[in-house]
Symmetry: C2
Amino acid sequence: MAKKRAQPAVRKTRTDAARNRERILEVAKEAFARSGANTSLDDVARQAGVGAGTLYRHFPTRDALLEAVYHTEVAKLAAAERELSAKLPPVEALRAWMMLFVDYIAEKHIIAPALNSFVGGPSKLYESSRAQISGAIEALVKRAIKSGDIRKDLDAFDLLRALIGVSNVASAPDWQQSAKRLVDILILGSRPIR
Amino acid sequence: MAKKRAQPAVRKTRTDAARNRERILEVAKEAFARSGANTSLDDVARQAGVGAGTLYRHFPTRDALLEAVYHTEVAKLAAAERELSAKLPPVEALRAWMMLFVDYIAEKHIIAPALNSFVGGPSKLYESSRAQISGAIEALVKRAIKSGDIRKDLDAFDLLRALIGVSNVASAPDWQQSAKRLVDILILGSRPIR
DNA sequence: CGGTAAAACGGAGAGTGTCTCCGAAACATT
DNA sequence: AATGTTTCGGAGACACTCTCCGTTTTACCG
């Protein structure tokens, strides 16, 4: 009694639907990078060659679209955690990952305000992205704690907040340098007392 | 030849103008605190009992209004620096001021994205507020460096960026706690290398 | 005081963005 | 090819931003 198939059960997703979804995602990614998180969604729809209705059906809110756009990027960051952990000593790995995070935001022009939702509200939307990112930093921190290089009571989430926060202030020209200096300060400040 | 008064020279500002300006400021402050930095300015104008044109004449941009609204708040923070410096040892003063900053943002619901402009762009608008805030933290850091409790090469601006950044991520419920833990980490990480 | 020029007011309206609704079109399935 | 479902798309209702300019208010002067 596990699977009935009396009625057509599940219909294959229509190809035009899938195609449009992809196209929207592609255009949106570029638009967000170019003009920030406030790009006109109608514009995105137009450039993707679909009607506004189509865009809003696929992504009911601006946040939903942002989440979808950065989903793959987030996955890459999570993957980097595993790599770094494998080839670097605990603290170094943590540091390297944080630096990577900064670079990522700088390069891809990911809009930090959107990231807020990762550590922020109870939005179901970001659930999976948040899980990936916080999973990554938690693993890194846990390993560093175990090795004795980081204080036992450090909350990985605090570090994530700091990281996102620092990346938020991205207007100044030397932002990236400043962010990296701060990563070092954060790590230094997270060492065991003495 | 210091003061001519051939022509009417300077006219006293009209009382209605001053009154309206005050009223707008008052309403805007409340509105920003209640509904964030994106409140409808037309609404603000309506609630202040003036036309949209009046609001925009006094404050040409949303940022200008924000700046004006928080001008006095910023002044208070700057004043606190002097007080704390007078009654606490260098690092303690720095720490206390940073904590105060966090509290301030939490309590007054100051919209952090607006603060970005303080450390950010070359906007002439925020010039005075920025000067006050960065002056405060620079003084605190300089004193702490002189006392030997903080590393010589620490950039006060970095610290300010971190502070604003961390305050930015204000969605989580335990945000304030997290922010304060981070302040401690930042200060610890800014100590001399031994 | 009353007159007058200068300054401020205010709201209509043009431009733009958001989001919904529903008839028309495209699709998977039989 | 017919059928019934899913998706499309863009017109349109609504909201917000910001400007323009005829009208009103005010400070100043005689």
